[in-house]
């Protein structure tokens, strides 16, 4: 670029946000990465001496279980969201504009309430003296069933919280599928189910995939919900990081957990995107 020549226009468009990301995301993250290879000191938090101890410690069974559990719970949340969200997304995408607006409003409304308050709502419902247990007692079906502070509770809480992230992208991709494609498939002899699996489902795959990735990422890094709704045996990585930072003052330990979590998510998301790209290329080979 010569002197006095204006920078290419995209610099002006991307520049401000790029700078923002650099200062508030890239640099702090680089700092975290650096911290993760520093030696932990109970008195000074971290000493600028390089070590791999923070990472090798993660091979211990406790941490392996932690990561495995986090993956498993996030996957379960994703599956629950697909199962409950897809039919809803289809219905909304094919609804009349007015019903669609109302449905979208109801879907997004929970996002306007803080997570803490929402989780408290779940406590009221699932607690030992909560609505569900009261109902069970009335029916004589159980006394004080432990619902809260279980893995199930974490899945329920996270699924409810991330449902809009699943429904919205699926809905957007179904909306783009012309209803006449459904009719064409029916006209060619497909039952409703055959029509669905052969047209709507493959054509809404991009939306389903983005929804799943969003929900999975949100769940993987969840902190408040597992902390308040989960028990000691359903701890997730987010909670562990929080405790390493605030209770144990082991910042290098927290940093190594953070880096591994980030790499894990990056890897999985990348894999999913690569798979879908490949699929899309096969379909629209040009």
């Amino acid at each position: 670029m010569g002197r006095g020549q204006p920078p290419p226009y995209w610099v002006l468009f991307v520049g401000p946000y790029g700078l923002y990301l650099l200062v508030f995301l890239v640099l702090p993250f680089a700092n975290v990465a650096l911290l993760s290879v520093y030696l932990h000191s109970p008195t000074k938090i971290a000493i600028a001496e390089f070590t791999t101890a923070n990472y090798s410690k993660l091979w211990e069974l406790y941490y392996a279980n932690l990561f495995f559990r986090t993956l498993r719970l996030s996957l379960a949340v994703t599956v629950v969201c697909v199962a409950l969200g897809y039919p809803l997304a289809y219905l909304l995408a094919r609804a009349r504009p007015r019903s669609m607006t109302l449905g979208l409003f109801l879907l997004i409304m929970p996002l306007m309430v803080s997570t803490v308050i929402r989780v408290f709502g779940w406590v009221v419902i699932l607690g030992n003296e909560g609505l569900v247990n009261q109902a069970l007692r009335q029916l004589g079906a159980g006394d004080g069933v432990r619902l809260l502070h279980t893995e199930g509770a974490v899945i329920v809480g996270l699924a409810q919280q991330s449902m809009p992230f699943m429904v919205l992208p699926i809905m957007a991709s179904i909306e783009r599928i012309s209803p006449s494609l459904e009719e064409a498939a029916r006209n060619l002899g497909a039952s409703w189910g055959q029509m669905f699996t052969r047209t709507i489902l493959p054509l809404s795959m991009p939306g389903l995939l983005s929804g799943a990735l969003l929900v999975f990422s949100v769940s993987m890094s969840a902190f408040v919900t597992p902390a308040l709704m989960g028990g000691r045996r359903s701890r997730m990585v987010g909670q562990q990081i929080y405790e390493e930072v605030l209770s144990a003052y082991n910042w290098p330990g927290a940093a190594s957990l953070t880096i591994v979590l980030a790499l894990l998510m990056l890897g999985l998301v990348g894999l999913a995107l690569w798979a879908s790209r490949r699929r899309a290329r096969l379909e629209t080979a040009r």
């Binding site: 009719e183 064409a184 006209n187 060619l188 379909e283 080979a285």
Partner: protein, 364 residues
């Protein structure tokens, strides 16, 4: 021969959307191998009728039978009816081959037979080498052929077309219209064709049902519809026409009746017995006027009058003239462009003639 067999029978078909918006009751029959069009402006009920036949709308009343068997209680995928959509509705994630094979695969046809039948069908619609392409890589005309092939390969008893050519440009539309007609004739398929384009309906159909506001105005062959429209609506919708209100003055001769239009033009029309004093509605096609004396027909009976040209629209093959006949009656006149028409300009006076047989009395 025992005469043509009824393939599709629609009896009292009614679809009520609301007390104000109702289609029908409609009744018509389509013969085996016939090309039958439903023609009318948007909102006339033609697409609703088609969708009832295909099973995508449930009629409020009435019966639909195909080949003598009730159709209306069967779900859309068990109707043996092929529908070609206005927007083609090809599956974007499937190749041309897979689009055409879609219905065969649902019917569990074996692989070799699918290969063969899809291949034959793509040959038939003149797209033999495009099986591996995706719909997005095809032109509009090619996409429409794939859509037709996709329906035809299942050998349905009835083909339905929902304005299939309206998304194509004019040249292609005319070519596809011709090919569609050839294909339908060759395969002898019964077809119901929905369109708002009167030229298309006239060019393609064996018979046409003209619809207006949910009712059938007239059913007839293209020439019946054009030459002897049953109503002012049909006369106006098909081609252009002069619809004139006139009062019967009395008998004009052994075969004639004399009338005077409300703007005072005196005309001789084919005899209406004992109608003196009655009011009639006349329809005159613009192209039936002639400039010179009538050379054929009964020259002595011809209506002749002088007309003042008020406006000329030059269309190449034809000239469209807006004239005032006998200083009073506005008329639309279409004449062939020829040497003699060069002098015609706004303000000129021309002599026009029209045969009484070319004046049609509308029943309503």
């Amino acid at each position: 021969m025992a005469g043509p067999k009824v393939e599709l029978e629609v009896r009292g078909l009614t679809k009520r959307y609301s007390p104000q918006v109702t289609v029908g009751p409609l009744s018509f029959e389509v013969m085996e191998g016939e090309f039958f069009s439903l023609l009318g402006p948007s909102g006339c009920g033609k697409t609703t009728t088609l969708r009832c036949i295909a099973g995508f709308e449930t009629p409020s009343e009435g019966a639909i039978a195909l080949g003598g068997r009730r159709l209306d209680d069967r779900p859309p995928h068990r109707r043996d009816v092929g529908l070609v959509f206005q927007n083609y509705a090809l599956f974007p994630h499937l190749t041309v081959f897979d689009n055409v094979a879609f219905g065969l695969r649902l019917r569990k046809v074996d692989k070799a037979a699918i290969e063969r039948r899809v291949g034959q069908m793509l040959d038939l619609v003149d797209l033999p080498s495009l099986g591996a392409r995706y719909p997005a890589q095809l032109s509009g005309g090619q996409q429409q052929r794939v859509a037709i092939a996709r329906s035809l390969v299942l050998e349905p008893s009835l083909l339905l077309f929902d304005e299939p050519l309206s998304n194509l440009d004019l040249k292609l539309r005319i070519q596809m219209r011709y090919e569609l007609r050839l294909l339908q004739r060759r395969l002898g398929k019964t077809a119901v064709y929905v369109t708002h384009d009167q030229t298309e309906a006239l060019a393609l159909s064996d018979r046409i049902a003209v619809l207006s506001q949910g009712r059938i105005e007239q059913i007839g062959t293209p020439s019946e519809i054009y030459e002897r429209p049953a109503s002012a609506f049909v006369a106006d919708f098909i081609g252009s026409s002069n619809v004139l209100r006139a009062r019967v003055r009395g008998d004009g001769g052994p075969a004639d009746t004399a009338v005077e239009t409300e703007h005072g033009l005196l005309l001789t029309i084919p005899r209406i017995p004992d109608a003196a004093g009655a009011t009639v509605t006349l329809m005159l096609r613009p192209e039936r006027f002639q400039m010179a004396a009538l050379s054929n027909g009964d020259a002595a009976r011809a209506n002749r009058f002088t007309a003042l040209v008020r406006d000329v629209t030059y269309l190449g093959e034809d000239l469209h003239l807006r004239v005032l006949a006998s200083d009073r009656q506005p008329l639309l006149v279409s004449i062939k462009n020829s040497k003699g028409t060069r002098a015609i300009a706004s303000g000129a006076a021309i002599d026009l003639a029209i045969d009484p047989e070319d004046i049609h009395v509308l029943r309503r």
